[in-house]
Symmetry: C2
């Protein structure tokens, strides 16, 4: 058996001459320096079109997500521009658009229910600080501990919770609720108060949005043939209408409501109501607040926010990295850079009364599909939000709540990932268990705890093989007929497995009636002090029985850990015995 | 390369015919059934001698540990007999003696400080219940997650805390303290109140105990020569005196105090004081208590006890299993049986006002050295404690506190495991870090949290290789000169490593300028859904670049996980390509 040489040529990757190290650092950390010098008017046109389209999408979404978070609608818009500007400078993936998302809104809602807006803004600031700390400590590795099954379970549960939370708006009910079951029970209690005008409008909007969504798949040329120029422009128009569907539906509904209100003596729909005009004040985030006539200090607020101070930023990064991966088209994602950018978006945003923000999957997809060329598209989107805050807010008041509800429902129903169940069943049933456990726990005990439970289950599955690795026992004989027991422990030899492996070897040794025992260490990639103590005890035990014990294929690093504990008169791992050589030869035949 | 056949003959171990399954179960779970039929008078004599010697040891220890736990001295004796009886019936290792220990006393003290005895008894009951649940759920595996470095750090810190906690008694100070730093600061504050009579007695006792401890190493015959019969009996007497040193020192000191008190007009030493006479009442453990004039319900008490409800039983099991391993002389320890027995000792004990108990290392060592033959020795020890409670308590009142403090100090100083530092440094420096972190945290933030921090650090070290495994990249060529890139990921392919391995492979693929890439999966012992998705993405990426990608030595179980996600037109893992066969042949040369 030719064992793997541990000396080899690694590819010299990403090596940069030392004199350019500082320049390289800035190029790496401020990606605008990379693309700005090559910017041209053609790219500008593409970026403007994409930025404008994303702007049309973000406005109704921002209003809706602010309501979802339990905040006044203008806070959605406050959260929607800083991220765009920051990402233009520091973002590494051109397609990503930072701003309010349904998930962040839901997690914010769970923290501010019964409290006030200050908590949302402080949470935004603290999320940024935690992300900055994670970036500095290179803790991007934490994101790797959230597996696809947990992500799937979490996203699906969140979508269900967000979707059902909009049923109130769609039925025209005035109710506030917390979590899936609370919403469902309140819905059942209040179902007799349903406003049929709102219900009609809501259902109408959903149907319209779903149909408009399908519109972009419609092509006016035959499949396989090249479209003519006029066909191309019809296709493009269809795509543009489909992409701007949220804005179109909201504008039409608002116009209806406006006409009813100004001419028909009152709208039959529940409306968004006053949206505060003007840009948010630039001020330090609130480190104390007055709640129920008593002052809450910073430690009080921190205590109230609890674990969400860590979970919100981690989940924000997870979402952002996931989107980055989806749009990176094979490029390597630098999790630290994304953490750093996101932390800036949140810290700066909190000075503009933003709630926690992260990359939005739906808007990034629109950005990508609109043909964005550089991160400059963000500047256009951000500017549109600022213009809207300055001039459009009087009109936002006429947006019916039901149509905003419809926008949210149509965004989240495609995030319920039922189609992943089948491949997961085929591939790994254990993972299906993690996914379902996460899904159920998110619904029952809340999204933050749900994801923690999911990660814990995953880590237990991950640790179990370290505690109970496979130990393969086989009776073999050398070519010259000498019998021996070959034991191959799978996995590394770290403390949780030591007793198990030691017991297995001891047992095989005893039941073999003093045949020589050969331990094939080829899968033992590492060991620790507990393992070394165990091996020492094993060697002692075998030598007291005068039963030969050999170690085959042991790696240098493992041997050095073992030898730290063994005294010198024990087996010398480095010199091969005759039996070992014979076995190695035998295996190579 | 001959790959390991996954079909092999496992040794048929511990297989029992089905008809005897019930009988075997009872034999296994009630070990007295195994040894009682072969019991004889010779064994009885040995067991009586050993049981009596252990009885002499347990009495001063029990009084001292009760004081250490902040309880009245009789509670130590209440905790010292039930465990002995239960272990005789259900225990699987003849040497183990169950009862109060310094560690359990310290952990109990941290729970009852500022509270009352009811908390200690409830903690005993709940520890038993948790251990029973662990036994039923086969959670003995949890014990494996406490590594030797963490145990060493924990035991050493506990010894330091317990040792210093006795300085008060040794100096004759009246003080109660909590934790290492609190004790030290109170000692410094009160040092001027030192009672020199107590100090003199304490130091005298320590010197006497250490000298008597050495006595058993003294042999009156020449080394190497066979001792004569009279020499043998002198040796045995020396050993007996050495072993009974605690009882001897305590009896001498108490006699001195008694004489002072009855004839000299008052003892110059602080005495233990009244020890309640008689056996404890048999009653249901207290599920509510009155504390500071307010009634605490069961949930209140549970809340007060907090995480110790889980930590005390787990640490008790850990201690017990560690002792079992030390005395099992190569036999296999059944952690479930030990859990089950320990749970019975604690549950039954709590009905007799016991504090939490576990196996005592010092008394088990005495038991072993006294030549115990079966677990029956426990009956003798337990009966002696009952006799003492019935008749000796009036005399216990005269035991000086300083001599009990000396007994504890001399027991714990040998538990500070400084000698393990050197081999740990040689073997694995990472483990030294865990040990020191555990030691420091136990001293600074308390023993329960210290052990949790230690386990957490250990698990992080354990998980890190799963997130960042070694990926070995090598440029190779087949015997006929065809170049390829050989990539060997170490460790299993589970979710935390997926992105890292995928990125490494993608990077190597890109920088190799479209050479075929061969992934040697020999160390990939398992995979999950996240891995399968990653591999699918990798295959997509390579096929879009038209770069060949092969998987070598992939195990069947890994392939089946991958194939659950891959659609059928992707690489078929099972049919060998020409390149693969060539590489395999090449490797075998």
């Amino acid at each position: 058996m030719v064992f793997f040489s541990s000396i080899s040529c690694r590819f010299p990757l990403c090596k940069m001459p030392n004199q350019n190290a500082v320049k390289a650092f800035f190029y790496h950390r401020i990606p605008i320096l990379q693309w700005a010098p090559h910017y041209n008017s053609k790219k500008l046109l593409s970026d403007c079109i994409a930025g404008f389209t994303v702007g049309l999408t973000v406005m109704p979404q921002a209003l809706a997500y602010a309501t979802l978070a339990g905040l006044e609608p203008q806070y959605g818009l406050y959260s929607a521009f800083i991220g765009c500007f920051v990402y233009t400078i520091f973002g590494s993936i051109k397609d990503i658009t930072i701003g309010p998302t349904a998930l962040m809104a839901l997690m914010t809602y769970q923290q501010i229910i019964g409290r006030n807006t200050d908590y949302a803004i402080l949470l935004c600031f603290l999320s940024g600080i935690v992300q900055l700390a994670m970036a500095i400590l290179h803790l991007g590795v934490l994101v790797d501990f959230i597996s696809i099954p947990v992500t799937v379970g979490f996203t699906s549960a969140t979508s269900v919770i967000i979707g059902t939370s909009q049923f109130g708006s769609l039925l025209g009910l005035k109710m506030s609720s917390n979590g899936f079951f609370d919403t469902m029970s309140k819905l059942v209690q209040n179902i007799h108060l349903t406003q049929f005008t709102d219900l009609g409008l809501g259902v109408g909007c959903i149907v319209a949005l779903l149909l408009l969504r399908k519109l972009k798949d419609l092509k006016c040329h035959k499949k396989g043939s090249r479209p003519t120029k006029s066909q191309q422009s019809i296709n493009y128009t269809l795509w543009l209408i489909s992409t701007s569907r949220n804005a179109i539906v909201v504008i039409i509904c608002s116009t209806m409501a406006y006409l009813y209100e100004t001419q028909g003596g009152g709208s039959p729909f529940r409306l968004t109501g006053n949206v505060k005009s003007g840009l948010p004040e630039f001020k330090v985030p609130p480190f104390s607040t007055v709640l129920n006539n008593s002052t809450k200090t910073f430690p009080d607020m921190l205590n109230d926010l609890g674990s969400s101070v860590f979970l919100v930023p981690i989940i924000a990064v997870l979402g952002n990295v996931a989107i980055a991966k989806a749009f990176a088209s094979g490029e390597i994602i630098d999790a630290t850079q994304e953490l750093f950018t996101l932390s800036l978006c949140n810290i700066l945003g909190s000075f503009f009364s933003s709630m926690p923000v992260t990359g939005s999957f739906s808007r990034s997809a629109v950005n990508h599909a609109s043909g964005v060329q550089t991160a400059l598209g963000g500047i256009i989107t951000g500017s549109m939000v600022i213009l809207a805050l300055s001039f459009l807010t009087p009109y936002f008041a006429y947006i019916p709540k039901a149509s905003l509800g419809a926008v949210i429902v149509c965004a989240v129903i495609f995030m319920i990932e039922y189609e992943v169940v089948k491949p997961m069943w085929r591939s790994s049933k254990k993972d299906l268990l993690s996914a379902f456990a996460t899904f159920i726990c998110c619904l029952v005990i809340g999204v933050e705890y749900g994801i923690l439970v999911g990660v814990a289950i995953n880590i237990i599955f991950l640790l179990y093989p370290s505690a109970r690795p496979g130990v393969h026992v086989e009776k073999c004989s050398t070519p010259n007929g000498m019998e021996y027991i070959l034991i191959t422990p799978g996995n590394a030899l770290y403390f949780p497995a030591v007793d198990f492996i030691k017991t297995s070897i001891a047992r095989a040794g005893v039941s073999s009636k003093n045949l020589p025992v050969v331990i094939d260490c080829q899968f033992i990639l590492g060991a620790d002090f507990t393992a070394a103590k165990g091996i020492a005890a094993l060697i002692n035990e075998f030598s007291s029985r005068k039963q030969p014990l050999y170690f085959l294929n042991a790696r240098l690093e493992v041997v050095s850990v073992f030898q730290g504990v063994l005294s010198d008169d024990f087996v010398n791992f480095n010199c091969k015995t005759k039996l070992e050589s014979t076995i190695e030869e035998g295996n190579n035949r």
